[in-house]
């Protein structure tokens, strides 16, 4: 019996030692294989420096804005290289300024938050009376595309003209867009259609590419879009015209220009002008220009915008500036 007791006792002692070894083994190895992690003493009393106010304009920076003819993200992607190239040519740091609407961009221009901008014809016309902007250059689009306002509808719909649009949902891009709002407003109004009652609803999509998508997806029955944006979309997706159709096209207007702040130094303005106009002279420049559908830039001619200015006057008379 004693032998049995001593045997069991030895067994228990052995097992206890094994258990301790196992625990120690796991503890040591767990500790060993746990990588050292930094300890961060979170001190809420320490303040992280605030972001600098970008409204101030460092002297070596060119604040270049682009109107959101495309969506904000697409605009950034498409025009980043152009801005980088121009700023490099003039020897300044680029600061890409974007705003979510034509109106907010116009205000930024008027407030002096922007040095140069690639705007739609609408914001140019809107800002022109303030005297705070000047024309710099204007684009010549590839394939000699002209700047129109076009109304599109789904290709499978029974909408063939503006007369078929009664009671439908109309899509527009931006309240200050020339081709995406002013031109169709004047056209409908002068054609005798009260834009507030003729349509079931008017939806502002924010940009011309979103307007095209809204037509494709049937969110709107028809929409007014920038013709160059439409051509660009067709180049990217040749099958687009299988899904949409153009039911109306406006007269030709002056293209969206590059404008600069009126108080910009002439030397800088001249440098910018020269940079734009000469960009197409090298391979890199041509690639940048072709990616945004531009063949080259030409010196701006104010006369090219007379028709647009004239339509704007009609727009105001028809109450468009107070709409929507």
């Amino acid at each position: 019996m004693d032998l049995k007791k001593s045997g069991i006792g030895k067994t228990i002692a052995l097992l206890s030692v094994i258990a301790v070894i196992i625990f120690a083994f796991f503890a040591v190895l767990t500790k060993f294989y746990t990588p050292a992690e930094p300890f961060v003493d979170i001190d809420f009393a320490t303040t992280a420096p605030e972001r600098e106010n970008t409204a101030q304009n460092p002297s070596d920076e060119l604040r270049f804005a682009v109107a959101t003819m495309w969506s904000v993200e697409s605009t950034f992607t498409m025009y980043q290289r152009l801005i980088d190239r121009i700023c490099t040519d003039v020897g300044l740091q680029d600061s890409f300024v974007l705003r979510s609407s034509y109106g907010s961009l116009r205000k930024a221009i008027e407030n002096g938050e922007v040095d140069a901008a690639f705007v739609c014809t609408g914001p140019y016309i809107y800002a022109l009376p303030s005297g705070k902007i000047k024309l710099l250059v204007e684009p010549l689009f590839v394939d000699d595309h002209q700047y129109h306002s076009v109304i599109i509808a789904p290709s499978g719909s029974n909408i063939e003209s503006i007369k078929d649009l009664e009671g439908t949902v109309l899509g527009l891009s931006d309240p200050e867009s020339f081709t995406g709002c002013m031109v169709p407003y004047v056209m409908f109004t002068e054609s005798g259609y009260d834009i507030d009652t003729y349509f079931e609803k008017v939806i502002f999509t924010g940009s011309h590419d979103r307007t095209i998508h809204a037509v494709e997806r049937g969110i709107v029955s028809a929409a007014a879009v920038h013709s160059v944006v439409l051509e660009s979309a067709k180049r990217e997706d040749p099958a687009l015209m299988d899904r949409i159709k153009v039911i109306w096209t406006s007269e030709t207007f002056g293209p969206p220009p590059i404008i600069i702040a009126a108080e910009m130094e002439d030397s800088l303005a001249d440098s910018l002008r020269e940079a734009f106009i000469n960009m197409h002279n090298d391979e890199d420049g041509r690639m940048i220009l072709s990616s945004i559908g531009i063949e080259r830039f030409l010196p701006a001619d104010e006369k090219n915008y007379d028709t647009a200015i004239e339509l704007y006057e009609r727009y105001k008379k028809l109450g468009g500036s107070n709409w929507p």
Binding site: L15, I21, A48
Partner: protein
């Protein structure tokens, strides 16, 4: 058992450790995936707002989405320079944390705070051109789960070891030890041992039953061994009597011849009762004849009654030769056999005299049977020695042993004698008797002199000094 335990530890410890670390890595990956999905969603929704600098909308987005996961400690957006644009801390963004986030571009950073372990997941916005979304998640729960699992695993391993050791101990007590004890007892089994000292072996029911079975088998073996010995002794005695039977004819001759001579002497004395010269001549002859008969009868009786003594002792070889000659003389003369005996050296052998005499007698009787039909029957008995052995050779000029029978002659019940003349046990018993004293009985490959068979008895030699000292 030790080897088993060590093997178990070597196998299961790495497996357990790998399992624990796999769980830990899996938990971390799961947490990272949650953080990455949240950060990616925020990054996708904040592009436009970042581009237009709409901080309020950015704040709304990160605050709304950070509430979708209870492990989220904070969300912050940094610009490409690492400066914080918006964050979800209720007060200012911790500078120490900003330094940690800007250390490198790793998508996952691990660090610890007073509140526990934290994982920061970073997702760039538009490939980092607009900045980075950082989501901080608490790792306390995943670490606690890993620790819990580790404890369970270790406890399970230890419990398993306990069970294995206890089980092994139980098996040892109930099976291995009783089997070892049984094995040792069986290995030390001796036919001459006492059965009362067979150890009591207790174990499982099967082991106890096995031990009982062994005990019964040993008892049966004992009984069989006892019967075998009795049978063997009976066979030896029978063979001895058979030999005596063969000697009976010679015995008659050995008694009749002296009696004839003594009767003739008595006749002479009766016819000349007063002749002193006749008395001096014939009385000794009568005495010698009676002495001779007495010797023969004494030898025969001694031989017939032998078998009860089993002790071996030193025995001079001449005693063997003389006894052989005395017992066989009648039979040899009756068959006109020429017997030659030779003793090259007088030596002493260690044997049971009567059993050795029986074996020798058997050989000579077989030789006599073999040469009976010869025209000039001859038997040669020779004793020679070397330092270790005494060799008694019986050789005849009979037909010899057929090659096919050479291996069989020592087999029990094998005989070449016709009918029921032989039992077939003589050579088998003779060999057994010689081997019992450490010697042997062999059939020589070739006869040395005569053309028949040659058998050799080999028995241990005792040197004279040893014999005397003993």
């Amino acid at each position: 058992m030790r080897v088993g335990l060590i093997t178990l530890l070597i196998i299961f410890l790495p497996i357990g450790l790998h399992f624990i670390f796999s769980v830990k890595v899996s938990a971390e990956k799961s947490l990272f995936d949650r953080g990455h999905n949240l950060a990616s969603s925020i990054a996708a929704q904040t592009v436009d707002k970042l581009l237009v600098g709409d901080k309020l909308s950015l704040l709304d987005i990160i605050e709304n989405l950070s509430g979708t996961d209870e492990d989220v400690l904070y969300v912050c957006l940094t610009d490409p320079n690492g400066d914080v644009i918006v964050h979800t801390y209720s007060v200012t963004f911790p500078e120490n944390l900003k330094n940690v986030l800007n250390e490198n571009d790793e998508p996952m950073k691990l660090y610890r705070t007073f509140q526990g372990a934290v994982m920061n997941v970073s997702v760039p916005v538009m490939s980092g051109q607009l900045g980075t979304v950082n989501v901080g998640l608490s790792r306390n729960e995943s670490i606690a789960a890993s620790r819990h699992l580790a404890i369970i695993l270790v406890l399970g391993l230890v419990s398993g070891l306990f069970i294995i050791v206890i089980g092994a101990r139980f098996i040892t007590l109930k099976v291995s030890r009783p089997l070892n004890s049984l094995e040792q007892t069986v290995s030390h089994f001796s036919p001459y041992g006492s059965r009362t000292d067979w150890p009591e072996i207790k174990g499982t029911r099967e082991v106890s039953s096995l031990a009982d079975g062994f005990r019964e088998m040993v008892c049966r073996l004992d009984a069989l061994e006892h019967e075998r010995k009795i049978t063997e002794a009976h066979m030896v005695h029978t063979e001895r009597l058979a030999a005596l039977g063969e000697l009976a004819a010679g015995l008659t001759h050995e008694i009749r011849n002296p009696l004839d001579g003594m009767l003739e002497c008595v006749r002479y004395l009766e016819s000349n009762p007063d002749n002193e010269a006749f008395k001096e001549k014939y009385l000794p002859m009568i005495r010698n004849g009676l002495q001779r008969i007495n010797d023969v009868m004494r030898h025969m009786l001694t031989y017939a009654r032998s078998g009860s003594e089993t002790n071996s002792d030193a025995c001079p070889t001449y005693e063997l030769i003389d006894s052989l000659e005395l017992m066989l003389k009648g039979k040899i003369e009756a068959n006109n056999i020429h017997l030659t005996k030779k003793e090259s050296l007088k030596c002493i052998c260690y044997c049971n005299k009567h059993e050795t005499l029986q074996a020798s007698l058997n050989l000579v009787l077989n030789a006599i049977d073999a040469v009976k039909e010869n025209e000039a029957p001859e038997i040669d008995v020779e004793i020679r020695c070397d330092p270790n052995w005494v060799y008694l050779t019986v050789e005849d000029n009979g037909p010899g042993i057929y090659e096919l029978n050479r291996e069989k002659v020592f087999e029990p019940f094998f005989t070449t004698k016709p009918g029921d003349e032989g039992t077939g046990l003589g050579l088998a018993i003779s060999r057994q008797l010689m081997r019992a004293v450490g010697g042997d009985l062999e059939l020589s490959a070739e006869p040395k002199k005569l053309s028949g068979a040659s058998f050799i008895i080999r028995i241990p030699r005792v040197l004279e000094e040893e014999c005397c000292n003993a």
